[in-house]
């Protein structure tokens, strides 16, 4: 018994250390975004200067606007198509279902760089100009799979007899869907949409290939800033990005938590 307690103590200390290593870089990054010194090295005093530099950086603001536009459209489109697909795959048997299943896993499994170059090649061959439009198409493509998986996971706990009851009571297909099915799977749809939004906002690799010259998303802006030199402005920008994704992550986890409590 004593031995077991000891192992648990060692494991606990070890895990604490891992948490520390996971979070220390992020915390240091955030702390130094408030540092007066232009060098990211020694603390010289508190300032919000780097945030105001950021607010006046035209390139960053443009990239932010681009990223939000892309994330908005790709979330709406991928959530719509993905939800329809999840419902359809749950309800109907059809030819090519296994093939579709496999195809949906392709964007998740193959390295992102392969997705990126295959879309670049495709857009070039079909003479579609690279830019906002191709970025939205690409982001929808990798988001759909995640939306389908998240919504399908929610459908698994769905009681089919509820739909049958609605039909028996005279509701038509559309009514049954909007009044019975949709409210039940809504948490899954929201979780899927939030995931699509963060995936789009965070994507580096695929965007890198399909953005074309002169069009930047926020992560691509950060990438080129980091390559030219480390400045506290990047820390500030990173901090804002972290804050946004963190809020989305927490909202999403809370929704999941609520869901699991209900069941």
């Amino acid at each position: 018994m004593k031995k077991r307690k000891l192992t648990k103590g060692i494991l606990g200390t070890y895990s604490f250390l891992i948490y520390f290593i996971l979070y220390a870089p992020i915390i240091i990054l955030v702390v130094y975004s408030f540092n007066k010194s232009k060098l990211n090295a020694v603390w010289t005093g508190f300032t919000l200067n780097w945030y105001s530099v950021l607010a006046n950086d035209g390139d960053v603001l443009q990239a932010l606007q681009n990223s939000l536009t892309i994330a908005f459209f790709s979330t709406v489109i991928s959530t719509f198509i993905g939800t329809l697909a999840a419902v359809g795959m749950y309800k109907y048997k059809f030819k090519g279902k296994t093939a579709l299943d496999g195809l949906l896993y392709v964007p998740i499994i193959i390295p992102e760089i392969v997705m990126g170059i295959s879309l670049l090649v495709f857009f070039t061959q079909t003479k579609i100009t690279l830019g906002l439009f191709t970025l939205i198409l690409a982001h929808v493509t990798f988001s759909i799979s995640y939306v389908v998986i998240v919504v399908r996971a929610r459908m698994k706990s769905f009681d089919k007899s509820l739909e049958e009851a609605a039909m028996d009571l005279g509701a038509n297909g559309l009514q049954t869907f909007t009044k019975v099915t949709l409210p039940i799977i809504l948490p899954g749809i929201i979780a899927g949409a939030l995931m699509a939004f963060t995936l789009s906002l965070d994507d580096v690799i695929i965007s890198f290939f399909v953005s074309g010259a002169g069009f930047e998303t926020l992560p691509l802006r950060i990438y080129s800033m980091v390559r030219t030199g480390v400045t506290p402005e990047i820390n500030a920008l990173s901090t804002i990005m972290l804050a946004v994704t963190l809020s989305i992550a927490i909202i999403s986890e809370l929704i999941q938590l609520k869901k699991s409590k209900k069941i």
């Binding site: 031995k3 494991l11 070890y14 895990s15 891992i18 290593i21 996971l22 979070y23 870089p25 992020i26 240091i28 990054l29 130094y32 990211n40 090295a41 020694v42 198509i81 329809l84 697909a85 419902v87 359809g88 795959m89 109907y92 090519g96 579709l100 195809l103 949906l104 392709v106 964007p107 499994i109 390295p111 760089i113 392969v114 170059i117 295959s118 670049l120 090649v121 495709f122 061959q125 690409a138 929808v140 493509t141 759909i144 297909g173 963060t198 965070d202 580096v204 690799i205 890198f208 992560p219 950060i222 480390v230 820390n235 972290l242 963190l246 989305i248 992550a249 927490i250 999403s252 986890e253």
Partner: protein, 291 residues
């Protein structure tokens, strides 16, 4: 009776066309077709000005066998292997601990694993540059305390690349380990120790085999992305570390040898497919064993 049946059938067909055809079309046009084009391009010829000429050749694949490219491939596989190894070795005890804490703390500890999973990996890579560079946080403080007098070269090394990759992909390993450790039936462990097995024996002969699905899923989720994450090796390894991801990026955007870049991408897909096949064979065997 017949008419209602016919009506019902019609409705069903309509339903699946409405729900499935958008996703089907989207995935065929933007996933399957582009990949097929890349597969075809791997057999094309590069023109003098970097354009693609539609002449069949096997040269791109022959080029892959040249020592310089073979070395990059082996280096990449080596770094991917080490990254996966560190994620697994560091992640297993950690996932084991989190999966076994009391329910009260589990929610918060689990959430603390999920958060890095959601945050941007480019930003998290940048955080390591802030820490590791010669005028960075670590070197500055070590020099201030007087442990070192000259800054250490930590950045732009293979070690930094492996650290960055491990840091970026660690949550994926932990999540898949966590789910399989949590699903572990604790009565097996009790049975083993009741039958006289030592904790080490129990771990090696019961826990480890039963959590194998999580381990293999984790290996896939770490190993495969490692091969393509070019920005981590670019930022933390500098020009010294050339991995297959960097090479592909270079062939497509700088060298403009798309056919050769395509051939390399096909190689990446082949490696991925090998892993997936092994995984499915493995997990099928497991299922049969359980049955």
């Amino acid at each position: 009776m017949d008419t209602t049946k016919g009506k019902y059938k019609k409705k069903r067909q309509y339903g699946h066309i409405v729900t499935i055809s958008p996703v089907m079309l989207w995935m065929i046009i933007l996933v399957a077709v582009p990949l097929l084009i890349v597969a075809g391009m791997g057999f094309m010829t590069r023109g003098t000005y970097g354009q693609v000429e539609y002449k069949f050749t096997l040269d791109n694949y022959k080029m892959l066998a040249q020592p310089i490219y073979l070395k990059i491939l082996l280096d990449s596989l080596g770094i991917a292997f080490l990254t996966t190894f560190f994620c697994l070795i560091l992640g297993y005890p950690f996932a084991y601990f989190v999966a076994n804490v009391s329910a009260k703390y589990k929610v918060i500890l689990f959430m603390l694993i999920m958060i890095p999973f959601w945050t941007n990996s480019l930003v998290r890579t940048y955080a390591w540059i802030v820490i590791l560079r010669t005028t960075g946080v670590l070197n500055s403080y070590l020099m201030q305390i007087g442990i070192i007098h000259q800054p250490l070269q930590l950045l732009y090394t293979n070690g930094a690349v492996i650290l960055g990759l491990t840091y970026a992909l660690f949550p994926f390993m932990v999540l898949s380990l966590y789910s399989s450790i949590e699903a572990l039936d604790k009565t097996y462990l009790e049975a083993a120790s009741d039958l006289g097995a030592s904790p080490v024996q129990t771990f090696l002969r019961v826990t480890l085999p039963l959590t194998m699905p999580g381990i293999s899923a984790g290996i896939i989720l770490v190993f495969i992305p490692t091969l393509g994450l070019f920005y981590i090796s670019d930022l933390l390894g500098g020009s010294k570390t050339m991995l297959i991801g960097n090479l592909i990026q270079n062939e497509f955007l700088t060298a403009r040898n798309w056919p050769f870049g395509s051939a390399m991408s096909i190689l990446l897909i082949a490696i991925t497919v090998i892993f997936i096949v092994i995984y499915f064979k493995h997990s099928n065997g497991e299922e049969i064993e359980v049955l």
